[in-house]
Every structure is written in C-alpha cells, then in structure tokens.
Symmetry: C2
Subunit: 712 residues, 2 copies
C-alpha cells in the first residue's frame, strides 16, 4: 500500500499555484478539523456552486477529510457560507454587512442553534466566494480558526488582468509559453484550465480580464471571435470575472467596411454602437474595451484631428447603455514630438481632465517611460483630479529578466502605490489617487476605479514560466484588492501557500524575495538609469543601442553618457519634466542635492566624480551597485541551495537552475554595462572590482533573434 501511495503522489510541478490544498501539519489538523466539520452552503447559482465546490475541495485536501454537506447547522464546527438571500442561517444572524458592498465579506466565529460555527457572509454571492478563499487561506497559511472576526472589502472596483495575447497564440512580452486561449478550438472545447485560471483569479479578487493584446486585431470583434469570447465568459462568470476586449480603433474600417474611423463621424459612432449592442447580445455582462490609441503606431482619434477624449467618449457612449467601461491608455508618445518622452503623456492628457465620460478610466503606467526596473511615479497621478486614473502595472517581466530571474515585484508595486504625489499635501499617495479617495470631491459621482496588471500567464505547466513568477500574479491581485497592502506580508502569505509553512523555509525565502527587485535594479539600471536593454526583444543589456527609427527607442537617448558625465537632465536646466510634479515633489526631484539617490540619473546629468551618499564618486558607486546586484543573486543561490531538504525536488531543481541562469545574466549585465560606460568615464575600476569577462565588442556582437516575447 505504501508503495502504491508513493507512486500516486501529485507531482509538484507548480500547476496548482497557491491552491495546492495539501494536508496541513498534523499538529494543527485536529484543531482545524473541529472548525470544519460540516459545510452549510447553498448551490442554487453558479457562483454559490463555485464557492461550495472550492470549500469542499480545499478543506478535503487541507484537512484530509471533506466536510459533510448539510442544509443547516447540526453540530459544532459548521462552516456556513452565503448571503442573506441564499442562507436562512445567515439571514437569522442579522450581521452588519453595510460596509461590505457587493464584493466584500465577513468571517466570524458565531454560535448557531447552540453550536459553534464559522460564518462566511456577504451581500452578494461573489463576496461569499471571496470569503471562502480567505477562509481556506487561513488554513493554508497555518492560522487558527478560533475566534475569527474579519471584514474585507475591495478598495478598487475593477481589478483586471491585461493579456497581451495575439490571435495566433503568440504572447507579446510573454515568457510562459504560448497563449492559454486556444482560439482555434473555442467555442466548442472549453479547456479545464480556463476554470483553473478563473479560480486562481477569484482567489485573489481579480474580477476582469482583457483577453487580447492592446496592440490589437480587429478580428477579435467579428462574430466568429465574439462567439469564442462568449464561451470563455461563460466559464469565468461563476467566478465573478468579466471579460473585456482590446478594441482596435480602426475596426470600423477593417471589419466594418467604412472609410473612416473618425470618432465624430456619425456612421462610425453608429458602427460602434451597433457593435456594442451585438457584443452584449452575445455576452450580457461584457466588461468593456481597453484601447491603445495613437501610441507606437496604433491608430487613434488623432489620425482625424480629434482628441483622446473624443475617441474614448465615442466608445464610452456605445458601452454606456450596457454598463460597460472604457479603459483608455495614457501610454502615448509621438514620433514627431521632439520633447522628452517622459513628459508627453502628461502634456497630452492633462488638458482633457474633466472631459471624459463617467464610464471612462484613463489607464496610466506606474512610471512615465515603460515598466522599467525602477521609475519615479508617473506625473499624471494627482494631476487629473476630475478623471479616474487606473493603474497599469506590468506583471510579466519584460524588463526584469523574463521568466528566469527571481524578481519579486511586490516592492515595486508598493513603492509606486505609496509614492506621495503631494498634490493635496503630504499623504497624497498614488494609492489614494487610484482608489478615488484623494479626489473624491472632484471626481465624477458615477466614477469607477481600477487597477490593471499585464499578465505573465501562458501555457507553461506552471502558468507563469517560473515558480517565483507566480508570486507576481499573486501580489498584483492582492494589491489591486487593497493598494495599501504590504509587499512583505503578501510574500509571506504566498510562500506559505505555494511551498510550506516551515518557518525555516518561509523566513529566508521571504527575505530573498524582498531584496530581489532591488538587486535587479542594481545589476541592470542602478541610480536612476533606465531603458538600457537589448533592442526589440529587450533581452539582456544594450546600453550601446542607438540609431534606428526613433531616438526614444534607443539607450543613448536615456543615459546620455559622455566624457563629462551621465544621466538625463530633467531638471529646470534640462527637459524640466520635474515641473509636471507638484511643487514639493518637483523641488526635491529637481535638486541634485535632494533628489533620492535611486532617481539621481533619471533627473540629472551628473559628472563622473560627483560625490554620492556613500562618499564614493559616481563612477565608483555605479560599479559598486552593479557588483552588489550580482552578489545578491549569488547569495540567493546559496540560500536556495541550503533549503533543498525543505522543498520538493522538482520545484527545487527548476528554481536552482533558473537562479544559475540569473547569476550568469546578472554578471553579463554588469560586465557589459561597465565595459560600455567605462569608455565614457575613462576611469579605472575601483579597487577589488573584477574587470568584465569579455571585451565590449563581444557584448555588442551578441544577437538573440528568437528571444521570446518579441512584439512581432
């Protein structure tokens, strides 16, 4: 029997994400079982069924015994799940759910008919499902089920993944294999992984997904593809997830047979209205459109002399009767515009503040360039008090080592959300812009709020290309629910659910994760440097990249290294991008003595002998940081090696292999960058620093025509 069991054990290949539901420690199991003896949960609706099935599966796995199903509380340890409408038990408890909204829940230890019970209550079914996942999470993270009294409600309304997935299965900036959407076999074949995808998202509170690339194809809006999209919507609906589509602005021409896509043209407006009507006939709870317009070659309203507001409002008007939302991206910069690229979105959008319809969200990347390892917060945050701004984070690591580098993005998200815009004095954080609380008085009353994450999900067995990249999907979801969450607390939670509650494992791994993003900044783009990666594919270092179709797609545009120094002068003596921030922030960023050192070269052009906070001259400090980044990766490898006995062999081996790749590539980044910048600094390496392993010519000669994720 033992032999058989050994062979039946589930492989730890990462496919189950943070929902592994493996047996909890024997020490805790008995106590926990006494709090999950029976399950009182309706299944009259698909969402109710999802909650009940998840609890049965989760409790069965975690506690080794599935709870009995019951219509009412018959013994101590019952778990009662539902809403006033779905559960007579809950209706009788007269719980105060007024602050929970449609998606919130409470979990409370109560007595029902003389029995100890735990109630998971909400105003709507979806809240109860979220509560069920929270209840399971308590068990998964080794917490007690005694004396519970928890209340949760999301701070942001639209918590959305953006899939940059093409119809041919290629994922732009995807490092986890092909798209999980098997368009060819849809709508007939509904792969079970679609359900697992929905479960994983619901477990985090993600409630929307944009299925197709922002660089979009109008065919996604044709009947054949809408039928396929509808099949996915059917699968996701029980998990509270609405589907959205990226809409190609020129679709009226490409699939509508019109000669223009001018947003003020009545025929165009009619086409979009009819298209919206058609979509909602197929998908009654369709979420809306995401649009990338007049950006990097995409069509848009400016092709017709119209504004972004004109374009967004036309789509908003088409969607409004159905309750749909337009997510209009602010990631725009012009080919023709000679001004600092970092300034252009602000320049373009601020004048339109207040001119967008109530069902438009302007979607703004965390920084003004493009998902770099570190950027200061985008100056649009706080600058459009009459317009709801939606955060766009990148979960896929386009600029942070693809799938093989262990880089936990929690600290990056936290840094961006906690950044203080100062527009209404200290404490005017980006988080408060996003959740609408900072400008509650000036925003439209009908406003919504949102946070988007560019997904790192693909057909790879472990979904995200690496085990640790699952944490980035996880932390995005948790921070979208509550933008003031702690990256460290979420890492702790994720490690426990994904790997183990063993304190000797959790502690070192959380430490490793928490420093990993700073390490990537160090070995790629220290001290405020940015946009130094290889051309096109963005794999590896390319500080020498110059020429080509546009200056602001090169590295030399951003680092501006020369004999006299390095860095982009965005102070008043330069592009004056600092002026786009609130005065208190502008003063700080604009002053080379006061600017936080991590943004030094973002805002200033500084001589090589500039004295840094450490006392080292700039060149020495730069080299020091490159080396520090590599050393951190070496330290992570050592830490991970020492944890071999505390984790399954399969996942340990892959993580160890990837850390080996990361170390090689971190060294490559350091060496190539130093070799290149030294041609400008003309200075020797500081004492004790190893010279680059190869010549600069060697690094410049490397070609990677098939690096994954390239945006062909």
């Amino acid at each position: 029997m033992l032999g058989l069991l050994a062979f039946a054990v589930q492989a730890e290949d990462g496919h189950d994400l943070w929902m592994r539901y493996v047996p909890i420690d024997a020490a805790n199991a008995a106590a926990s079982r006494s709090h999950a003896t029976e399950l009182v949960a309706a299944d009259a609706t698909p969402v109710q069924s999802a909650a009940r099935a998840e609890l049965a599966r989760g409790l069965g796995g975690l506690l080794g015994v599935a709870p009995a199903m019951s219509d009412t509380v018959t013994r101590d340890g019952a778990v009662v799940v539902g809403t006033r409408a779905s559960s007579r038990v809950i209706a009788r408890l007269r719980l105060d759910t007024r602050q929970l909204g449609a998606e919130g829940y409470l979990i409370r230890s109560v007595r029902v008919d003389g029995h100890a019970a735990t109630v998971i209550a909400a105003n709507e079914d979806i809240g109860a499902l979220y509560g069920a996942f929270h209840f399971l999470r308590l068990l998964q993270t080794g917490q007690s089920l005694e004396n519970l009294d928890l209340r949760e409600a999301p701070r942001v309304k639209l918590r959305v993944l953006n899939h940059w997935d093409n119809l041919d299965g290629h994922v732009e900036r995807g490092y986890a294999g092909a798209s999980i959407w098997d368009w060819h076999k849809l709508p007939d074949w509904r792969d079970p992984r679609y359900t697992d995808y929905a479960r994983a998202n619901a477990s985090l509170g993600i409630n929307g997904t944009v299925l197709n690339n922002v660089n979009s194809n109008a065919l996604s809006l044709t009947p054949m593809y809408l039928e396929k999209t509808a099949a996915l919507a059917d699968v996701f609906r029980p998990y509270g997830i609405r589907v959205y589509l990226s809409a190609r602005f020129s679709a009226p021409i490409e699939i509508g047979g019109l000669e223009t896509a001018d947003p003020l043209d009545p025929a165009v407006r009619r086409w979009w209205k009819d298209k919206a009507d058609e979509i909602y006939r197929t998908i009654p709870d369709f979420g809306g459109f995401l649009v990338k317009a007049n950006s990097e070659g995409q069509p848009g309203p400016q092709d017709y002399g119209r504004t972004h507001a004109d374009g967004a409002n036309m789509l908003a008007d088409a969607l409004a009767p159905h309750g749909g939302t337009v997510m209009w991206r602010a990631f725009v910069y012009s080919h023709e515009e000679p001004d600092d690229r970092a300034k252009q979105a602000y320049t373009e959008f601020v004048p339109h503040d207040g001119r967008f319809r109530g069902n438009v969200l302007v979607q703004v990347k965390n920084g003004a360039i493009d998902f770099q390892p570190r950027e200061p917060f985008h100056p649009l945050f706080g600058a459009m008090p009459k317009t709801p701004l939606m955060m766009e984070f990148q979960i896929t690591k386009e600029y942070l080592g693809f799938a093989t580098h262990l880089v936990y993005l929690g600290p990056l998200y936290e840094e961006a959300l906690k950044a203080d815009t100062r527009v209404r004095g200290p404490g005017s954080t980006v988080a408060k812009v996003i959740d609408g609380s900072l400008h509650g008085d000036t925003l439209p009353k009908s406003r919504t709020t949102g946070m988007a994450g560019v997904a790192n999900i693909g057909a790879d067995r472990n979904w995200s290309g690496s085990h640790f990249d699952q944490a980035n999907w996880y932390v995005f979801g948790r921070m979208a629910w509550n933008p003031e969450s702690s990256a460290r607390a979420i890492a702790d939670e994720w490690v426990r659910m994904t790997f183990s509650n063993d304190a000797a494992f959790v502690g070192p791994v959380v430490e490793m994760m928490m420093g990993s993003r700073e390490a990537a900044v160090d070995y790629m783009t220290p001290l405020g440097l940015h946009h130094l990666m290889g051309r096109g594919h963005h794999y590896g270092p390319g500080p020498w990249v110059e020429g080509g179709p546009r200056a602001d797609w090169t590295s030399v545009y951003y680092h501006r290294a020369s004999r006299d120094g390095i860095g982009f002068d965005r102070s008043a003596t330069g592009s004056n991008a600092v002026a786009q921030y609130a005065p208190a922030v502008a003063d700080e960023f604009g002053d080379v003595e006061r600017v936080p050192e991590e943004f030094l070269l973002w805002f200033h052009h500084v001589p090589w002998d500039h004295r840094t906070a450490s006392g080292r001259p700039l060149w020495d400090e730069l080299v020091h940081r490159y080396t520090r980044g590599v050393d951190y990766v070496k330290k992570m490898r050592g830490t991970w090696q020492g944890l071999e006995s505390r984790v399954d062999a399969e996942r340990h081996a892959q993580v160890a292999s990837f850390l080996g790749i990361q170390e090689k590539e971190a060294q490559w980044w350091r060496d190539a960058s130093i070799a290149y910048f030294q041609t400008f600094s003309g200075r020797p390496l500081p004492e004790g620093e190893a010279p680059p392993a190869h010549s600069l010519e060697y690094y410049e000669s490397l070609q990677f025509p098939y690096a994954p994720g390239d945006g062909k």
Copy 2:
C-alpha cells in the same frame, strides 16, 4: 485516509502517454508479482540506469510494490536485465543472441541457481532497455509473465522523428501547442519533459530525432544553438536517441560568410567539413543532417546547376568520418515545371540511382503528392534499387483534421507499407524496399535503412493535442521497428496501455480507431480525390481554391471537375504518371476498369455517370461516401458516449468534445464539397441525401487567418 487518497490521485490528463503504470487488475496482480519479486540490473552506464529506473518505476506502479534491488538472483521471481558484459548471470546463461544485433533483445523464463527468473538479455545496453519496455508492456496489456520466450530486433535501422519546429517556438503543421524545445532557456535549463520525451520514444524503439524544421534556419548550425542541441543530446543519450539537424543548404552563405553554396566549390566543401567537425566535437554521437533542398523555395544544389546527388554527397562526405548520415528528401517539384506534380520526384531522382554516397538515405513520402488522406504508394519505391530509400510518414494530421479529428493512422501506414510495387514480382512490398530486403543484392553494402515520421508533438499537456493522436506517435514508432506490423494489433496494445484492459472498452475503441481513417477519406477526399483543403493553413474544405502563385498549390489542379466529369487523368491518355510504376501496377492503375476504386479519381478523369462498383453512378457514389464519412463520426460519438463509465471523466470529456467538433467539421467538409461539385455535375442529390446546410458562397466566404500550424 481514504479522503486523502482520493485527493492525491493523479489526474488523467494524458501527460503520461502509454506509460501510465497504474495498478493492474487485482486478479492478475498476485500472479504477476510472483514474477517480479526482485530486480537484478546493473547501473554502471547511463543506459543501464535508465533501464533499471524504468523497471523500478513501471513495476512499482503496475504491481503496487517496487521490486527489491539485488546484485544476484536470491529468490523465485527475479527479473534479470542486461548484457553479457553487464551481468554475470546473463553471461552464465549462454543465450544465443546472434540474431539480435545491437538493438534487439530476448525475454525468456529461465532458472537461475535453482530459482525461477525472467531474463531480459541483449548484446548492448540499449537492447536491454528496449526489452525492459517490452516486459512492462506485457504487464500493461494484461498478458501473463509465465513461460516467456520472445525475441525482437528492429527491421529498420534509423527510426526517426522529424520535428518541424522553428526556433521561435512555432511548429509548422503543429496542432499540439508550441514547440517542446525551449531554445531560449537551453542549454542551462533541461526541462524534465525532455527526459519523458526520450522515455516515450525509447519505449517504441525510436532512436533518432531531427530537432528543427526541414524549412530550416541556418542559425541552428551556429555555436550558440549547437550548444543548446548538445544539451538535448545529453538528455536523450541514455535512451539510445541521437539528435539530427535539418541543414539549410545555403548556410555557408548565411552564417559562413561565403558567396556561394555550390556543392562543388572547394571553399563550400571545406566549410561543411569544418562545420561537421565542429558539431562532432560538441556532440560526439550526432546523427547527421536532414535536407529539404530545391523544394518549395528552399535553396539547393540546383541553384548552382548541380544535382541532388552532388548536394547530398557533399554533406555525406563531411559527415562520413564521424559516422553521420544524410537524409535527403525527395519531396521536390519545380515552380517552372509544367509536368504533373505527382511525377516530378521520380523524374528528378531515378536518374541518380547509384550515385549517392553510402551514408545517404533518400527520404520519400508515402505518396507522390503530400500526405493526403489517401494516396497510392510513391512510384519511387522500388524504382531506385541501388539507393536506400527512407520512408517519410506524417504523424501530425496536417490533412487529416488537425488535433480534433479522431483519425488513427495505423491503417494508412499499413496500407502504404504493404503496397506491392511488383518490381520483383508479387510480394515486392514497400516494407521490403524500406527495410532493404527487396534490393539486398543491389544496394550498397554499407547501406543503412530508415523510417521518418513528422512529429505531432508539442507543449500541450497531452503532448499530441488530443488523446487519440498519441496513438499515431505510438503506431509510427512500432511500425518503424517492424514495418510488417499489424495496425490493429498495435491499436489494441495502445488502447490497453493508454486507457484500460477492460474488454468492453478495448473492443469498441479499437473498432472505432480502425475505421476512422477511412471515414476521414470519405468525408474529405473520397474515391481518389486529393488536395482539396483550404489554402495555406489547410484547415477545412477548399475544393474551389484556384489562382495564386502556382497551379499545383490549388485544388482545381487536382480535381479537374467540369461538366464532363471529375478526376486527374494520370493514365496513358493523360499525364501518364502510371508509367512510373512497374508494368503490372501501371496496367492496373492505368485501366479505369481495373484501378482500385479508392484511387479512381487519382488516376482517371471520369464522367459523372460512370458506373461504380456499387452500381451507383459516380456522382451518387461520391455523395454517398461523403455522407458515409459523416455517419461514421456520428457512430463514433455514440460509441464513445456509451463508454463513459469505463474511462476517467477528464479524458472522456475531451474526447467527447473533440468528436463533437469532428462531426461538425465532417459535415462541413461534406456539405461544402457537395455544394461545390454539384455546380459541375448539375445532378440532383440522390434520394434521401440531405442538401448542404448553407450556400456555396457561404462556404467559400469562410476565413481562418489564425488556424494553427500555418507554415509562415
């Protein structure tokens, strides 16, 4: 405990292929366990370790208890595995292994030191590994381990998969997801699935794999990619699998900096010689090159006025010092050549018979067009008595319904291999051409033999895109080992290993599979019709396809339908392609009264009222067969539905869904084809035949720009 077990059970997602090793019936288990009490197997070499590990894993899974490891036979029921060199027990048994060659094995019930034992003996380690898989197969298929006396040796030397995988991960004509080769993370990350791939192939006796597309990219031959290929070779080596690469003929220009790729140019010859030396320094057991030259736009020796023999021999000379082989494809037809495409390979290659080096195999597709649902055997078979010809089958179902149609290719392979070329009288089968026995007296002494299959493998969880497509990988491997195998026996074996030994399941499923290919012929291309699929992607019907870059890429070129009839006249009154066959065959194929009806329209242009064997006029017979094909799919759906209780829910659901798609698409093929051909026949549908569901314009209007596998 029961609860826990229930949750730990392995999902039946098809990933384990025919190597599931789940417990055998309790009824047989006791008897079988008594024949596998201990395992006496060396592990001094990687191949020995692979055999030992496979037996431990397989026996542990199948019997519920892993056998004890022992250095010698200590009890009844020992299993002794190895060679004279690796096993003293086997050396002492003095078995006659003379006929087994390097890869064969015997399995025999013997007594050793007074104990009953089973010996798996071979001349080389790899034979013992193959024997180990055979031994496991006995258990998997419900056979007894009593009184065994088996001998097996492969009839064909090179049993090779051809992966049409591009470096960017796209698989040309692949319907199972992206390529399994993660080139970007190689050589560092050796995905465990590479080992599973090798195990699966070794279990069938497949001993070679061409990693990259025949439409090849010269970069595969650069040091960066050779290092990656070497890592895969390392993983495959313990399983007796050698790696090959498709070589782009113009590589000396593209990556060598030469101005020509002329095979008679000394600098070009030197470049290939140096390249071969470089490859063998990296991969000492490299298998050789596969080449598609002067075919469908690929470069080749004719670009320089040289012959295919000149090109092949240059590469052969480069590989010869290292023992490598050139597999040179005969799939050629010229853009400029107005002659019947079916004739061109023969015309091109026969004059060169005897001019190829001893380490060249000419690789010939089973038919003269291109892997159609049915083709007569290729006239090259038997026509080159001095040249070893290698069979090329397609495993991936480019023309047979992609991944969703249940079409078992065993009968197609068997039909091709059993076809009688008559070149040396009756019994001159294609199988005997392939295994070298037909022309043993005229072939070069140093000859090798081979069979290639274009792989249907991708990153999909079940490897092949559908559960039943695994059977096509399986039957290819088994037929490559023995080209005279029975497709039915192999189907029976595969069903037992993959699903169940339950007779009430095996019988109906084998029946279903055995008729499935004929059904596809019926609903796609009955009565010898061919090449009628959609343009480019080859998805769905396209009998109306005409125009475009070349006539022989259209459908009208092949069906030649008009008011007066339908079919391609390849008799003496037409292209006279029949004359390329031996006279006895040519007489039969060339005579409209004697030609087998399944090839009627392949060889003859026939009036619509031509009387067929059934007594029906041709038009009625055509419609009858289209409908019969659809009806067979309906019957398969019914059969499968009735088997729901006899198979796991997960695989049952996917097969059921795919059969639903197949029925829809079979109906589509029938309806579109009938709607189209009726415009020529001008005849009514026979009594009782339903009219097409849509108009011909509707079918012609359908567009599938993102159908998978397109050869971009």
